[in-house]
């Protein structure tokens, strides 16, 4: 009887040690996940709102993006689909409470789209891995896999995701054959123009902006345009306090 008890206690001790080791290994793995792998890119964008606002009411980037990606123009705000749009300053930066800032900035709309976070809540909640973070930082979507559960829509703190409540095809005047449309019941968002980046091109919005208000590049390259811009001027990120670590920087 005594011997059995000792064996049981040994076994219980070993089990506890084993479980603790496993949990520790997982924690270490999770914390190293966001560290940059050598040789990989970290794609990001820097937006200069002053340049963006130079031309009043300009929607060149929005038009180019939505045309290139067959984004339907649905007027009903409850059903609209958008990849890139203008948001009120107080909506885009609710945590920026600095008073008496130049009203030229705070009274004007801010260009917003998917932030391609380092720590994306949408990816965490997706039950089918239809959305995931690529090694180069793009938060991608696989519309083949999306089951339309909208957990990601609820998870995204930036409202960057749109759900197709209706078939988008009737809302597209002349869909481009270079990009698929979506179907009713899937979620969609900006993919940082993965299809253009793969061909060595810049994202459609960056290319469309005549004021050069959008700068796109690799944060892991110290000489890239984004890094140079971020060195030269102070920049904000939307809701940085949430710990999502967005890749879209807004110059001040």
């Amino acid at each position: 009887m005594e011997r059995e008890r000792r064996a049981l206690l040994k076994l219980a001790g070993l089990t506890v040690v084993g479980l603790a080791g496993g949990a520790l290994a997982r924690t270490v793995e999770a914390s190293s996940k966001h560290a940059a792998k050598p040789g990989t890119k970290r794609l990001a964008m820097v937006i200069d709102p002053r340049k963006c606002l130079e031309k009043d009411g300009c929607t060149d980037c929005i038009g180019a993006c939505h045309a290139a990606h067959n984004v339907p123009a649905i007027d009903d705000p409850r059903r609209e689909v958008k990849w890139i749009w203008k948001e009120k300053f107080s909506g885009a930066f609710p945590d920026q409470e600095a008073e008496y800032v130049d009203e030229a900035l705070t009274s004007k709309p801010v260009l917003v789209f998917c932030n391609h976070c380092d720590n994306p809540p949408c990816v965490r909640v997706c039950p089918t891995q239809a959305t995931w973070r690529r090694d180069d930082g793009i938060v991608m979507m696989d519309w083949h896999r999306c089951i339309g559960c909208r957990y990601c829509v609820a998870g995204c703190p930036y409202g960057s995701r749109s759900f197709n409540w209706v078939d988008p095809r009737p809302f597209l005047k002349s869909p481009t054959p270079d990009f698929p449309t979506r179907t009713k019941g899937v979620v969609e968002k900006c993919t940082f123009c993965d299809e253009r980046i793969g061909k060595g091109q810049q994202p459609a919005c960056v290319e469309a902006c005549k004021e050069k208000a959008l700068v796109f590049g690799d944060l892991n390259d110290p000489d890239s345009a984004v890094r140079q811009t971020l060195r030269a001027r102070f920049a904000l990120r939307r809701k940085a306090g949430l710990g999502t670590r967005p890749a879209i920087h807004y110059l001040v």
Partner: protein, 126 residues
């Protein structure tokens, strides 16, 4: 076996009804398998004809996963030629007659692939 006659009659009626599709084919002959119309300038496809016939859906699934999930967009085909992995822009550029090429067989076999709910069909020139 008081109701033997009724049971046998019932069974006979059941057999006739259940096997109706077979009677129909035996009497009227089967519908001829469609011959997909090929109107391409190219001499060969990305894989041999028999492979494409039997497993084009698997190839398309592989293309889908490679493009979307791995971000690779080019494919070295059986001829050693590099092609862009795209249903709309590669497959349909050789086969612009989707109705006669894709739909003819799919309708005959009563399969309805949902590729076209999202992937844009080019306007048929023919």
């Amino acid at each position: 076996m008081h109701d033997g006659g009724k049971i046998l009659t019932g069974l006979a009626v059941f057999l006739v009804l259940a096997l109706l599709p077979f009677w129909h084919n035996a009497v009227g002959g089967t519908a001829a398998a469609p011959q997909p119309k090929i109107v391409t300038q190219e001499k060969e496809c990305v894989a041999p004809r028999e492979t494409i016939r039997s497993t084009h859906m698997e190839l398309l699934n592989t293309w889908r996963d490679t493009v979307v999930r791995e971000g690779t967009r080019t494919y070295m085909d059986a001829r050693g030629k590099t092609v862009n992995m795209s249903l709309t822009n590669t497959c349909l550029s050789c086969h612009p007659n989707k109705k006669e090429f894709c739909d003819a067989c799919h309708n005959y076999l009563a399969v309805s692939p949902y590729c076209w709910q999202c992937h844009v069909e080019k306007k048929e020139s023919a």
